[in-house]
């Protein structure tokens, strides 16, 4: 996995757009962590429609790290 990409200083909806752009272009098996300004609840619906798994880790300051792994198929585990 590459280093965590810090998107926490961007105004909504840019962090979500950047995450989805990365995911749509990622090769199967690619994994990336993003530091987001808050728990990105609206993002989860979009992730659920894409072939990926993700984990979230809330930070003490209200930000959240979301780690996304692109799957090979549209079957989400």
């Amino acid at each position: 996995m590459d280093d965590c990409i810090d998107l926490s200083a961007l105004a909504a909806p840019e962090p979500m757009d950047r995450v989805l752009d990365w995911l749509d272009a990622a090769a199967p098996g690619a994994c990336q962590a993003f530091l987001l300004p808050r728990m990105p609840y609206p993002l989860f619906d979009h992730l659920a429609r894409r072939p990926c798994d993700w984990e979230t880790e809330p930070q003490p300051d209200g930000r959240a790290v979301v780690t996304i792994r692109r799957n090979a198929s549209h079957d989400q585990s």
């Binding site: 200083a9 961007l10 105004a11 909504a12 909806p13 840019e14 979500m16 757009d17 989805l20 749509d24 300004p37 808050r38 728990m39 609840y41 609206p42 989860f44 619906d45 979009h46 659920a48 429609r49 894409r50 798994d53 993700w54 984990e55 979230t56 300051d61 209200g62």
Partner: protein
């Protein structure tokens, strides 16, 4: 893995937000025809009708639309059948507002009782349901906690409103001035202020790139306000203390806005202008009886025109394009043509709307000298709001279909 369905169908909150300007236009036209009576007394039937058209029809639609959306996003609180539930709440709110305004205007008991039944049943069921969902939500953020208090405040406001209608139409033996005082207190400081504060905790950092609010203040602000309200309900003499939570909120809001990384965003000065007016009105309101020169209608109007209008403008200028953008991104997952949400709702629209909201707030205090400048500006604002929301929705539809 967290994988809930957080989003609400976009049409549910948008229906409320698109309806709100119509009520503002209706209220403004009626105000134009009866300005002298309205400005002369806060208890005149026309004044009561227009206040409820503004606060239920205009403000109520915006706040319920925002509440539904933010409760779904932050706390996962959404109905099993959100579209049907959204239609029911929306329909009852519009019918109840029309019945109440007509009943107050004509002082017609049957209309007032019908309004009480429609609004009472709908809003009490709605607040009971939403309060339970928010209470059971696993979300632990300060905004969600604030929303719970705000929903409870809405329920208390409605309950006091129904008691007032029972006093007026059925002669129920309750002290009218006390129930009226509680209705106004819970409506402004139990429902509107906690909702604005809770929304600000989320949307100001989210859209204006400010540091998060200090944790302790964010957690304590709305409960402190609720405690103050309870004390005031028992000891009205403490009313001047009500300014304290508002002062804390506005000071922190101004600090946050100063640190915003989006210095040119018009939402920044709209929040600031609205916050300062909110503080001014809350500081003056307790002295209405002591200062005869303080006109209660002017002060109430400043609450709406000076405080709420710019804050609602700032909220709508971000929430509407954000909702449409989420819907667009979900509808066009690949090969999208739009690059940013400014293509749906350009920032210059918000600047124009904000300029009108600012002008309304500045001209309202001069209403006793001449009502026409503020009326023309209110009508222009209502039309502009209607047009920009319609055009933003049309842009989104065109982007999705073509």
């Amino acid at each position: 893995m967290i994988n809930p369905e957080f989003s609400l169908p976009v049409e549910v909150p948008l229906r409320f937000l698109r309806t709100a300007p119509w009520w503002l236009l209706i209220a403004s036209v009626l105000f134009a025809g009866h300005a002298t009576e309205v400005l002369a007394s806060r208890y005149h039937p026309a004044t009561l009708a227009i206040v409820h058209l503004m606060m239920l029809g205009f403000a109520g639609n915006i706040m319920l639309g925002a509440l539904l959306q933010i409760s779904a996003v932050l706390a996962g609180a959404r109905a099993q059948r959100p579209v049907l539930a959204g239609w029911l709440v929306w329909g009852a709110l519009q019918a109840g507002t029309a019945l109440l305004a007509a009943g107050l205007w004509l002082m017609q008991p049957l209309l007032l009782q019908a309004a009480g039944a429609v609004l009472g049943v709908m809003l009490l069921v709605f607040t009971g349901w939403l309060f339970t969902r928010l209470w059971r939500s696993p979300a632990v953020d300060a905004s969600t906690a604030g929303l719970r208090w705000s929903v409870a405040g809405l329920g208390l406001t409605v309950a006091c409103g129904i008691l007032l209608l029972l006093v007026l139409t059925r002669g129920v033996a309750l002290p009218l001035p006390d129930v009226l005082r509680l209705h106004v207190l819970f409506g402004s400081m139990g429902w509107v202020f906690p909702l604005l504060a809770s929304v600000a905790l989320t949307v100001v950092p989210m859209f204006l790139v400010t540091p998060p609010w200090p944790q302790r203040l964010a957690r304590l602000l709305v409960p402190l306000n609720a405690l103050m309200l309870l004390l005031l309900a028992v000891w009205p003499v403490l009313l001047p203390l009500l300014v304290l939570p508002v002062l804390l909120f506005v000071l922190q809001l101004l600090c946050s806005l100063k640190a915003s990384k989006r210095g040119a965003d018009p939402a920044r000065w709209l929040w600031a202008w609205g916050g300062v007016n909110l503080l001014l009105v809350c500081a003056l309101a307790p002295w209405l009886d002591a200062l005869p020169r303080l006109n209660p209608v002017l002060l109430g109007g400043q609450f709406l025109c000076g405080a709420l209008l710019p804050i609602y403008t700032a909220m709508l200028g971000k929430i509407v394009p954000f909702l449409l953008w989420l819907d667009y991104r979900a509808s066009v997952p690949v090969g999208r043509k739009l690059r940013h949400m400014g293509q749906l709702f350009p920032e210059r629209w918000l600047r124009g709307l904000g300029g009108l909201a600012l002008a309304v707030g500045l001209t309202w205090p001069l209403a006793l000298a001449s009502i026409w400048p503020v009326l023309v500006l209110l009508l222009a604002y209502g039309v502009a709001l209607l047009v920009v929301i319609h055009r933003a929705c049309r842009n989104a539809r065109a982007a999705i279909t073509g």
